[in-house]
Every structure is written in C-alpha cells, then in structure tokens.
Symmetry: C2
Subunit: 361 residues, 2 copies
C-alpha cells in the first residue's frame, strides 16, 4: 500500500486466526488485498490526472503477466464511466512528411488553448526497430516538457492486433485522466493506417507538395479515409507548389462519393516548422465535431468502432486458438502436402481439419 | 445403376441371408451400393467428357442434401488426378461493357482453335436476381449450341463464400471432363472480383473508352489485379477514343510496381461484336502462360490459391459455428448493450464471449 487511507472505513492489514493456519493463504490474501487496493489507488490517481499513475496503469496493460492484465482490466472498467469525452485524432503520412514536427506544433497549440493532449502511436514495426516513431522522444522536446501533454510510444513486441488493443485501452485511461485531445500517430505502412482509422473520430493525412504519391494514396484507400489533408512544409519558397498540390487533392476528393459523415473532406496548407496553418486545422476539426455531433454520426461511428473491435478480437482469438493446437498444426501440414500432390481439395482438407478440431475439443 | 457392367468381376445386386433379417439394413446397403456405383459411373463418364454426367455431378455439388454432397466429394476426389490441366481465365467488367458478347466471341474463337471451353460465373447477386449473368443463356446463343462449350450459371441462393466453393469444385470437374480453357465471368460488384481473382491463372479486365471509371478501378484494386485490360467496342467510329483510353491505361499500369509474376500487364483493343482483337488477347494469354510456367510462378500461384481457400474455409466455418450458437447470440446482444452503455470495453466483452464459447463447447 502506497499510503494509508485516513477514512474510518479503512481496513487493517490483518487476517483472521483461522486463516493464519495456512501460510500460503496468508500470502495469497495479502497479495489480493494489495492488488485490490493498488487498483483502487491507481484508478483514483488516474481520475485525478496523475501522470505517474497513468503510466503505471499503461505498463500493466502492456505486461505479459496475467495478474497484471487482470488488474489492468479492473482499472479500465473503473475508468470507463469517465472516458469517452475526448476527441481522438489519427495522424498519418509517409516518413519525411514531418509528422513529429507537426505533432510538436499541434500539441503546443492545443495546450496553449487549454487542452490536455495525449500522444500515442500505432507502430507494429517498433518490435523490430525498437520504436521508430515516438520512441525517440527527443524529436518532441517541447511536448515532453509540457505538463499538459503525455507522450507514450507504441507497445513493442506485439502483432498489429495486439498493439491495437493496447492502444485502444490506453485511450480509455488517458481520457479518464482528463486528456481531452488524443493524437494517434501512425506510419503509412501496411494495415496500420486502417487500424488507426478504426479507433479515431477524425483522420488527418499529412502530405508534401510534388511528392507524386497521389496514386499510391488512392490505391491504398488512404485518401478515402482522410477527413482532412494538410500539405505540410508550405513555407515561402514552396508555397506555389503547395497550392498546386492542394488544388489537385481538392479535385481528387471531389471524385469520391459523399461520406457517411456527410462531411466534405478539406485540403489545407500548413508549416509545422513555422507553425502556420495549425489554427486552421484545429478550427476545421472543431467544425467537423459540431457537424457530426449534430447529425449523430459521431456517436454512431464510435459504436460501430466498438462493434468492429469486439468482432475482430473474437475472430483473431478463434483463429489463434484453432491454428495453434499442435494436432491441427501437424494435420494442416499433411493436408497442404496432399493438396500440393493433387490428392485432396482445399475444401475437403478444411472439412477434415474442422472435424479434427471438434473431435479434440 | 444406369447400365450393367459386362465384366466378369461385376457384382450382383444381392445381400446375404444374414443381412436380410433386418429390412433397414437391406435398404441401407442397397442405397450405399447404388450410390457407390453411381459415383463410379458418373466419374468415368465425366472423365470421358460426358456433358450430361458433368451436369449431374455439378448438381450434386450444388445440392443442400448431405448425401449428395458426400457423393460430390467422392467424385471430386476421384477427378482430382485428372484435373488442373486447364488455363483458368477470369473476366470482369462493369455492366454494359459487353461481357456476354465477348465470351461468345472468345469462346467461338477458342473452340475453332481446337479448345474445349467451360464458362462459369461468380455472381452472388444471382440469389436475388435469379441469375443476372449467364442465367439468360440466350445471350450466348452460339456458344450454347457449340458441343465443345459448356456453360453453367452461378449457383444461386448462396453466400459469396458458398458460390466460390461450388465454383472451385466445378472447375475441377470441368477440367477432369477435358475442358482446357475455363472462363469465369463476374460482375464488378463488391468482393466478387477478388474472389474470382483468387481462383484463376489470368485476370482479364474489359473496359470501354471514355467511361471515366478509371479512378473507381484503381480505388477498388481491380486495375492492380488485371493481367490484361481489353478496351472493348473498339469499332471504326470509336477507334480514336479507344486508342486514347488504351494509352491512358498503359500509363496508369506503369505506375504500379512489378508483379510477382514478373508479367507486365498489357492493354489491348477489341470488338467482341465484330470479333476483332480476340486473337491478340489469346496470344497474349499464351505468352503469359509461357512466361509464368517458365519462371514457376504459375504453379506457385495455384498452390497459394489452394492454401488461401483452405484457410478461408476454416476461418468462415470457425466464425459461423461460434456466432450461430444461440447462447453466443444472446450474450453478444447483451455485451453490445453494455458497450453502448459504456459499462464494458469491446475487449473485455470479447474475452467474456470467448470464455462462454469454451464453457459450452
């Protein structure tokens, strides 16, 4: 216990004499009491906005220890009624577009305007590169020192699904801790953008003028997901090009059908370095929030995201628990060989494996 | 039994006196013998290229009757060593592009060049529209009368997954029956193109000049899947526009990275109506086959497709058998309500449902 409660209702750390006959029982009861008190203590500290408590709870979320995970779940459940009040903003863009500089400038702007800002990341590559984004906090020097900002790199050593779950849970804790803007950064690699899109209210795409990757963005469906595109590095010597790029993206966006949000995505210019255009971006996000809260899309989207994560988690688990069984692994190998030898079809093989799964349940 | 075997090894339809004491046993044994003989008879007729037998076997594949499905599986397994020798070509394009006319012309060309052609379809919408493609065989009048062509519409009343499985199994039977070119038509709707792409060797996209749906094709990933794009209706009065469209698509294709097949997709002109450009398309498919058989991509792709279908079938079944349980349906509803009321997270809810699934296994 970190500190004694001053309430008259406080419990003494003691066990009854009947229980004391078994030393293991004492240990177990003590550890349970400790955990339970820690959980309450952590939760109330988080609700008071205590950054240290928040960090500790996130560490529990990221732990491999089942006891820690159980405690994390208790804290999350206790935090839930106090969560959900923030705006969650996804920020993406190719390496070199200036994401870190942008988040520094955007975060500073927001805290100057009375907001508390949490910066998280989805970076499944971090398990290999040990955190290529946010890992190096020195790139966000000002924000790190800002007491109204909280920066947490992506959980490492996890699959995208694992990182996603931990980040979603971290959002809940940050919201309960009173952070009213959650920025979630991602790199434009693989499925990570789609994952971030499925957990944010607003999706901001950072672009450079003349990068020539428009087709890439269209192909990968990123343009389609964007609620706003900000052409970064729109500084004096680059302004003409930036404006051309803005007009091109505006034209491209008009080719898409209207979004379910009824929001027409915007294209805007900014310079994260010179901190220009940042206010325009925040204003258009405010406009988006007003519109989508009025037409009920905001809540509907969050509900749909919840449903998506529920189903996705179940599907991932069903697959994992089937394919990880030793007898299935062995049979799968055999069936694949039979398919290759043209002795069975994928469907007959699937039926056989599913039957084996049932028989050994 | 359709015909008596003339072999001295032929079995008499009779049962021993001990078995005859139970009339149900007689019935069961007789029906099993009949089925087994029918299976053999059907299989050997299919291997001789008998269209009636082929049609009957496909009807078994499409049946809802479990006995029929078991018999279908036996026939498919028996046919497997004789299958796999065809070239499978997927053909897609928006409604109005002239798919039926193209398949008429292409099919006629192929049979004139000594090929036997089977035309199948993936059309999950057919359950609603009662077969919008291939259903109306009058649109392929010549091919229907052609004894070297076999046309079979999409199985109806099925999910895309169901149609896909039945079509894949039908391909095996058609190949065993000696059809050396399998054309699989699909409409450009939803996921059906991706499904067809996952079961063919070569994917042909039909386009019209000036249709203005290039972006749509890029967005939906169709352009990326195409091994060739044929601009149809390239008739005299439309030739200039068709050539412009061809050049545009050529430019667009060059923006994509090299395919795993090392094949550079082609763009070509044709008129299904005037039967021009059909030979060019067949020649380039031949060129594709030569290249991908030489670099081993052809076999590798078929193996990967088999693996994909094996895993896909298992995943679909795992999900279906989990979510269709009455107790899971009920609990899922409750959990979704709790999520909406902010009383649990999608992840905690998923854990609870998975636990319930295990407890009631």
């Amino acid at each position: 216990m970190s500190k004694k409660s001053k309430s008259a209702l406080s419990e003494q750390e003691g066990v009854s004499s009947s229980e004391i006959t078994n030393p293991n029982a004492v240990k177990s009861i003590k550890s349970k009491r400790k955990l339970s008190l820690d959980t309450n203590a952590l939760t109330s500290a988080i609700l008071k906005g205590d950054i240290t408590a928040l960090s500790r709870a996130i560490t529990l979320i990221e732990s491999k220890n089942l006891k820690h995970l159980a405690q994390a779940n208790d804290i999350i459940t206790a935090c839930l009624p106090h969560a959900n009040k923030s705006v969650r903003i996804g920020i993406t863009g190719v390496p070199g577009v200036g994401k870190s500089t942008f988040i520094e400038a955007f975060g500073a702007y927001l805290t100057e305007h009375g907001k508390r800002v949490a910066v998280l990341a989805i970076d499944p590559s971090s398990s290999v590169t040990k955190g290529s984004i946010l890992g190096d906090k020195t790139r966000m020097e000002r924000l790190v020192k800002n007491e109204n900002a909280f920066i947490r790199p992506s959980a490492s050593g996890e699959s995208l699904g694992g990182v996603a779950r931990k980040t979603r849970e971290t959002i809940t804790l940050c919201e309960a801790a009173g952070f009213d803007v959650i920025l979630i950064e991602t790199v434009g690699v693989g499925q990570s953008e789609t994952t971030v899109h499925s957990m944010v209210d607003f999706f901001l795409l950072l672009k450079l003028a003349g990068a020539g990757d428009e087709l890439q963005g269209i192909k990968r469906g990123i343009i389609e997901m964007a609620d706003a595109i900000a052409i970064n590095k729109a500084e004096e010597d680059n302004l003409k090009q930036a404006k051309l790029a803005r007009d091109e993206f505006k034209r491209a966006l008009h080719l898409y059908p209207e979004k379910a949000s009824q929001w027409q995505p915007r294209v805007t210019l900014c310079s994260a370095l010179e901190e220009t255009g940042i206010d325009t971006i925040w204003n258009l996000i405010q406009e988006y929030l007003e519109k989508t809260k009025a037409n009920k899309y905001f809540d509907k989207k969050r509900q749909e995201q919840n449903k998506f994560w529920l189903l996705q988690t179940i599907e991932d688990q069903l697959k994992a628990s089937f394919f990880n069984r030793p007898e299935i692994k062995k049979a799968l190998k055999t069936q694949l060989e039979l398919i290759e030898a043209n002795k069975t079809t994928p469907f007959a093989a699937a039926d056989l494996l599913l039957g084996l799964g049932k028989a050994t349940d």
